[in-house]
């Protein structure tokens, strides 16, 4: 049994310790944000934040994240609410600025990779609230274990959305 904290909630999972975190999140905890793309840490579809840093859940044994804070796409609104100290009623109706921007810019095409894209965007904007196009490209290409790949070619829409999210965050989330 492994104890992990996912989106602020402590969970006990029965899966063997060498099980990749992705399968625990998807099958044991029934979360649908992280997706199986390659199982090789080559694409980023499975990304989550582990203690605020983007990681590939497909190659991360669940035993290695015991007692760490895991955030998935499902947890982004709560993460933002906590960071901004939003009252519960408001928090419930507030999406993370990255999600708001992704909708406003109509970013996803098939959307299968967008979980990882939004995770990276969140990580980037938490450390760099106003990134340039070059910095955005670097964050999605060279910052992690591999580039974050989008087969539908939504990269331009992602760049637009990251910039849009930065504006929303600068305004306090609206």
């Amino acid at each position: 049994m492994v104890k992990i904290t996912v989106n602020g909630v402590p969970r006990e999972v029965q899966a063997p310790g060498d099980t990749p975190l992705l399968y625990v999140l998807r099958n044991d905890l029934q979360l649908s944000g992280p997706q199986f793309g390659c199982g090789l840490a080559q694409c980023g579809a499975c990304s989550v934040l582990i203690d605020g840093k983007e990681a590939r859940s497909c190659v991360t044994p669940v035993s290695t994240v015991a007692n760490k804070e895991i955030t998935t796409l499902e947890g982004l609104p709560a993460r933002w609410a906590k960071q901004k100290g939003l009252p519960a009623a408001e928090a419930e109706n507030t999406l993370h600025p990255v999600q708001q921007a992704w909708i406003a810019e109509q970013t996803p095409l098939c959307g299968f990779c967008q979980n990882g894209m939004m995770i990276v965007a969140t990580e980037l904007l938490e450390s760099n609230p106003n990134p340039t196009t070059t910095q955005i490209k670097a964050a999605f290409t060279t910052s992690g274990p591999s580039p974050h790949l989008c087969r539908c070619g939504s990269y331009n829409a992602i760049i637009d959305a990251v910039k849009h999210a930065a504006v929303i965050m600068a305004k306090g989330g609206k």
């Binding site: 899966a15 063997p16 060498d18 099980t19 990749p20 399968y23 998807r26 099958n27 029934q30 979360l31 649908s32 944000g33 997706q35 199986f36 793309g37 390659c38 199982g39 090789l40 080559q42 694409c43 579809a45 998935t72 796409l73 499902e74 609104p77 999406l95 999600q99 992704w102 909708i103 109509q106 970013t107 996803p108 095409l109 098939c110 959307g111 299968f112 990779c113 967008q114 979980n115 939004m118 955005i136 490209k137 670097a138 999605f140 290409t141 060279t142 591999s146 580039p147 974050h148 790949l149 989008c150 087969r151 539908c152 070619g153 939504s154 990269y155 331009n156 829409a157 992602i158 760049i159």
Partner: protein
């Protein structure tokens, strides 16, 4: 008891009859409802299919109006990220029925038992009249007839706004009109539900003139984006059925290997796993996904296969296609644009271009490998839960595999990773295997292909080559143009698991196969240079490589992929046009304009010229160089007509001769679809196609050896990364006088390659006619 009165009438070729219910009890909430189908009576062989399908002759199978005036629409078209079913389809229905966009609250797509028409997820806009538009038009006329009767006002004196019909000082909403009614309107359809093209709504109901469009033309949002972004969407990958087992396949060692012996499962390590063997198909099932993965790897390591080497290998691909492939069995196709007599003109040409263009195998390469949940019930009913571009075709294939009828097979369709045409003939891989494993273990089984399988056991976009002969006269005009396209069969719709298992499937591509699965190479790239007097375009087809040699009869299986066939034919034509312009010392855009007679061709070329800041001059550029470690810059143009839409593209590149690296710096594209249904969505679709097209042009080649595909992950099949993205400029030309809307998105894939190759020529003075323009290849050619 309800008192029922019936009457019927002809509505624009459809038959409307109505039952007036006089209620005694609870409300009878029916929109428009059931009646026997003329189509079924005429096509008894297809009747069984409809037992688990909606009757396409009934308008309520397409459009359901609720008493609160909200509307539900249904389409057999699955969404693959285009968003068309959630945006354009709602807009089209809204305008056809004079209701607001928001009134259409529900879109049901794909599921075989909940949608009426089938067909692959392509050509959504149906060249201006998709099925859903005609269905809406019929429904609108029926509503007017009902209102006329109810209000006692002649039909031609009625007007409709926001779903409220008014006339003679009275009005009634759609909701009120259908409440407590059971309406029967039979609409004419034709076609074959489980074929690639599905059913088509026939007849000519009056349709709204463009001048009355209020919703079409607006940038309305795609509703499914919100649920995907907020992790609330139910993806195919999220389907979990009670008792479901996880399955992983152990595919043969090569594309021609047969099974010698199955590896022994280590029950001490994997006590809950089970091996399933059917013919040459091996699978492993387990209660947890991680156990299934590990157990399948353990079994695979000790499973023995026969060796097979029957493919030419990537390095010899084009030699094989030219010298060894048999192009004599399929009849040669000829374009309907062929005109004049090219022979004498080519023989006496003032200047001549003779060149061969080569096009590699490319993978659809969805970002998520294919997966499906199969659930074979004890009564023989089969349910498949998956992401599929043509669920009706899939049910036909699965029924054939199991020796049953399509009504026993129900396909449930969910969002998933786009795969760009791979399943428009019914399967992408894993669906059949999930069914085979489920049948064997008597439980629902979820089969997920791993990354390597998805690259090595799936179909690909076919390789091809084209020979061009082109004569230029003394005035610098093309006097004759001849092109011969050579491409193996572009579409193999056999489910691969069924083939490996030795279960029944449709035939491998043959001359006689139906339409797209034939070995005949049709002409797919409409001719746009009407100013040329002598034109000869021919298509030559053959079997897929290895198809006949492989003991499994699989070989390198092909399948249509974004702009199928047309990409393979447009690339040589457009690069040849650039070369011809260069031969005559003409500017490549002006050269195209001078050879065109179509206003929209000229319009799209002028638009891209202006938007890109194109400086008119011949190619190559002054001081073009093909050596050195400093980047050299160039630009090129391309042109295409597809599905009612005209496209022109300019790519500006920087190439470093010493390394061969190409960076696309700016990509400008002009699109004239006639009416732009949704500018925001079209822009995003075009940007996506642009990125994928650049990726295909400079990175993508499915590598294979003598035994099979060797590209197995994102390192060995690299695709475009965000850092490779150019500045993208999309120019949408709204052209309402065309009177209809053409297709979007996929054509953008094909435009980058010839424009980039032309830009490379412009920059370096050297022409490279083989795709992809991979770094090492470009480096070697420039050095030579």
């Amino acid at each position: 008891m309800a008192t029922v009165t019936e009457n019927s009438r002809n509505v624009c070729g459809a038959v409307l009859s109505r039952r007036q219910f006089v209620k005694t009890g609870g409300a009878l909430v029916v929109g428009v409802s059931l009646v026997g189908s003329e189509f079924l009576k005429a096509n008894p062989a297809k009747a069984s299919v409809f037992m688990n399908s909606l009757d396409p002759t009934l308008p309520n199978s397409w459009i359901e109006i609720h008493p609160d005036s909200t509307i539900l629409i249904r389409t057999g078209k699955s969404d693959f990220g285009q968003g068309t079913t959630f945006t354009a389809y709602r807009q089209i229905v809204a305008d056809e029925m004079s209701v607001p966009f928001e009134a259409i609250t529900t879109v049901v797509a794909g599921d075989t038992d909940r949608t009426p028409d089938g067909s692959g997820a392509f050509d959504f806009l149906g060249r201006g009249t998709p099925n859903i538009r005609k269905a809406a038009a019929y429904t609108y006329q029926a509503l007017l007839d009902l209102a006329s009767e109810r209000l006692g006002v002649p039909k031609d004196q009625l007007s409709v706004k926001d779903g409220i019909i008014s006339g003679g000082g009275k009005s009634i909403s759609y909701g009120e009109l259908v409440k407590d009614q059971q309406l029967k309107l039979t609409i004419p359809v034709s076609g074959d539900l489980t074929s690639i093209f599905g059913l088509r709504v026939e007849g000519n109901p009056p349709m709204k003139p463009v001048s009355e469009y209020k919703v079409i033309g607006k940038s309305l949002p795609n509703s499914i984006i919100t649920s995907k972004v907020t992790a609330k969407e139910m993806w195919a990958t999220d389907v979990r059925l009670p008792g479901m087992l996880h399955g992983r396949m152990v595919h043969p060692k090569t594309l021609g290997s047969t099974l010698v012996s199955v590896g022994q499962l280590d029950k001490t390590k994997f006590p809950n796993s089970q091996v399933v063997v059917k013919g040459n198909l091996v699978g492993v099932v387990a209660p947890t996904e991680w156990e299934a993965i590990q157990a399948s790897q353990q079994v695979a390591a000790s499973t023995k296969w026969t060796e097979w080497k029957g493919l030419p290998g990537s390095a010899k691909l084009y030699d094989y296609l030219r010298k060894e492939a048999d192009w004599t069995t399929a009849p040669i196709t000829k374009s309907n644009a062929n005109v004049g007599d090219v022979g004498p003109t080519l023989a006496s040409a003032h200047k001549k271009l003779s060149a061969t263009y080569q096009f590699s195998y490319m993978k659809h390469a969805p970002i998520g490998p294919t997966m499906a949940v199969g659930d074979v019930k004890s009564d023989g009913t089969v349910h498949i839960h998956t992401h599929n571009q043509n669920p009706q075709a899939l049910r036909g294939e699965i029924a054939m595999m199991l020796g049953t009828t399509p009504d026993h097979v129900i396909v449930h369709c969910y969002p998933g990773a786009g795969h760009y045409g791979r399943s428009n003939g019914g399967n992408a891989g894993a669906e059949d295997e999930a069914v085979i494993l489920s049948q064997a273990v008597d439980k629902p089984v979820r089969v997920q292909w791993m990354r390597a399988e998805d690259l090595q056991w799936s179909t690909q976009s076919s390789a091809s080559y084209s020979d061009v002969e082109l004569a230029i006269d003394e005035t610098g005009k093309i006097a004759a143009y001849q092109i011969d396209h050579y491409m193996p069969a572009m579409q193999d719709d056999r489910p691969i698991g069924a083939v490996i298992a030795g279960l029944p499937t449709m035939s491998a591509p043959q001359v006689e196969s139906k339409s797209v699965t034939s070995t005949v190479n049709g002409l797919s790239d409409p001719w746009v240079y009407g100013g040329v007097s002598n034109v000869m375009e021919r298509g030559h087809g053959t079997f897929q490589i290895g198809q006949k040699a492989s003991p499994l009869a699989v070989g390198i299986r092909d399948h249509s992929m974004r702009t199928p066939g047309q990409f393979q034919q447009n690339y040589p034509r457009e690069l040849a046009m650039n070369e011809a312009a260069a031969l005559t010392g003409a500017d490549a855009i002006q050269f195209r304009i001078d050879h065109s007679k179509e206003e929209r061709v000229v319009g799209v070329l002028k638009a891209v010229r202006e938007a890109s800041g194109w400086d008119s001059r011949p190619s190559p550029r002054p001081h073009a160089v093909s050596t050195g470690s400093a980047p050299v810059r160039g630009r090129g143009v391309s042109l295409m007509f597809r599905s009612g839409t005209y496209w022109a593209c300019v790519c500006e590149i920087a190439v470093t001769p010493s390394t061969g690296a190409i960076a696309v710096e700016k990509y400008t594209i002009a699109v004239d679809p006639g009416i732009v249904v949704n500018p925001m969505q079209l822009k995003r679709q075009v940007e996506g196609g642009a990125a994928m097209g650049i990726s295909q042009a400079i990175f993508e080649e499915a590598m294979f050896d003598e035994s099979g595909i060797v590209s197995r992950d994102w390192n060995t099949y690299p695709i475009l990364k965000m850092a490779d993205m150019p500045e993208i400029k999309v120019v949408l030309l709204s052209n309402p006088k065309v009177g209809s809307y053409g297709g979007g998105s996929e054509a953008a894939n094909a435009l980058a390659a010839p424009a980039i190759a032309a830009a490379l020529h412009d920059a370096t003075g050297k022409v490279i006619r083989r795709l992809p323009l991979k770094r090492a290849y470009v480096q070697a050619v420039l050095k030579a």
